[in-house]
């Protein structure tokens, strides 16, 4: 058994080492793959704040992932066609600047998370799972028929967006951006979990009446967690769109929501690096099993079943054991 903190460090070092190795060995695709894993991990870290800390099983996080993606797609699309996003009531121009796009992605997905959260939190349990799924599906079908931005075909961005001082077209540079963001968000997540807010949220998940009797509103705590969660997943969506230089309604699909959740369950629910481990392992399985057989989904399914049976608490739980209470 390794301590969880050591494991977390090990995971991040490995995640950084592989692309660096790939860079020196001229394996740019390995870097792309690692970037994909990092971005998925970021999306799942976002969900983990709602799911792990707040106990909010959202099967609609693709909504935020997609909103982030479309924020990037729409802004960059207008920038590359030199048309304004809108002229009335005030002029909004497109942009190719990553920081601006991230900000827009985070704000819009935050607003969406607030609205979806306020309505969804009236329900609990399976109903919550399903109402979030319903909101996700609304976005999905809307994006499919939104002809102005490509409908099902999606939006293509010819060149990756700019980041001040870096050539983002170099794979390792874009990886570095994503990896840095992931580390910052993990740091934030760690702080959040230990903060008074995290403490109260954690208690709201386990014993909502208790939280009420100390004069705190569990619903409000959960709503704020849901918004933070949506903002992070939205940011991941913007990065994912930039990785592919392409957005499409599949980012909104319920399978996407399911995958984000599976990263968490696979890695370990409520573990700081659970989503990271889950996303990395999933991307590797997808990549390597895909080469083995046309019917690789069968192997993937069997492996996931094994995880459910023999690794309660996910892979992190398997390696680091039952979560030790914070000191």
């Amino acid at each position: 058994m390794i301590r969880e903190r050591t494991l977390n460090g090990l995971v991040l070092v490995l995640l950084l080492a592989v692309p660096l190795w790939a860079m020196f060995n001229d394996q740019p695709f390995t870097i792309t793959l690692a970037t994909r894993a990092v971005i998925f991990a970021l999306a799942a870290v976002g969900l983990n704040i709602a799911l792990g800390l707040g106990g909010l099983v959202s099967l609609g996080h693709a909504a935020f992932f997609g909103i982030g993606g479309y924020a990037m797609g729409i802004l960059a699309h207008h920038a590359q066609t030199y048309t304004p996003v809108m002229e009335l009531p005030f002029l909004i121009e497109g942009t190719k600047s990553m920081p601006v796009i991230w900000l827009v992605a985070m704000v819009t997905s935050g607003i969406a998370a607030f609205l979806i959260g306020i309505l969804s939190l009236r329900t609990a349990g399976v109903y919550f799972i399903m109402i979030t799924l319903a909101f996700g599906q609304m976005f999905y079908f809307f994006s499919i028929s939104w002809a102005a931005y490509g409908g099902e075909d999606g939006l293509l961005i010819y060149v990756r967006n700019d980041f001040p001082g870096l050539n983002t077209l170099v794979p390792i540079n874009f990886f570095a951006i994503c990896f840095t963001i992931l580390c910052l968000v993990l740091l934030l997540n760690g702080l959040l979990a230990r903060s008074p807010f995290g403490l109260a949220l954690n208690a709201a998940r386990q014993a909502p009446q208790r939280v009420q009797t100390v004069g705190l509103d569990p619903q409000r705590l959960k709503l704020v967690a849901f918004v933070i969660s949506g903002v992070i997943t939205g940011l991941a969506g913007a990065l994912f769109a930039d990785l592919n230089r392409f957005v499409s309604p599949t980012m909104f699909s319920w399978q996407m929501s399911g995958e984000i959740m599976i990263f968490i369950i696979l890695g370990g629910n409520a573990r700081l690096c659970g989503p990271v481990v889950g996303a990395v392992v999933f991307v590797m399985l997808e990549h390597f099993l895909g080469g083995l057989s046309e019917y690789w989904h069968i192997y993937l399914g069997a492996l996931l079943l094994l995880v459910v049976f023999f690794a309660r608490g996910g892979l992190v739980g398997l390696i680091a054991g039952r979560e030790v209470a914070h000191d």
């Binding site: 230990r194 009446q209 209470a325």
Partner: protein
Amino acid sequence: MTEPILATHSLQKSFGALMATDDISIDLYPGEIHAVIGPNGAGKSTLIAQICGGLKPDAGRVELLGKDVTLTNTLTRAKAGIGRTFQISALAMEDTVLQNVLLGAVGDIGSPWRFLRPVLNDGSLRSKAADALKRVGLQDHAATRTSDLSHGQRRQLEVAVALTLKPKAFVMDEPMAGLGAEGSKTLTGFLDGLREEAPILLVEHDMDAVFALADRISVLVYGKIIETGTVDQIKSSKAVREAYLGGDA
């Protein structure tokens, strides 16, 4: 004469044909321990739920510090100063004992919206929590996972959380349950001193404790208060004797 801290006036609540609380008026004055006793199913839990805001009465009022709080929810009443402990522990079982008490301390400062500074680095929250744990005698268990506590220790923890809130009135739902003779004695001693801080509405089955602590006792049977009085008055009450022993005798 002083005003009661907490009072109910003619509370009524029925579930279908069952009258769970029937015209209950009960009050709690500064410095006193007012015990509510009664057989199982007498309506004690329903009464507590109405006092603390979990249930809306069909008729009647709940007053806290002279203010009508009947229409407010649990949250508002907690903020207004009701410190409640639960019969079936409502604690964050996966968290440590210290974390549970810290939650009370966070509730006491009234805002959970502090996101970045670890709660353990906050000296004032920490000392408040440590203080409360010490008072109930759980200081050695601060790092224990709550689910690993014994039944009695959980009761103590419930009380500790309520302490951090510095409430105007305590409402305790069977704090002695599962404590054992020794623990029960310790807690009795502790509650005895606590009444000076804030009065206690004590719902309790442990008669030794009740007789040792209560300034007044109300007896609740089938949703009605059949008698209110001092320990001696209750001990000698015919109505109480009938209600309690009637079935057995």
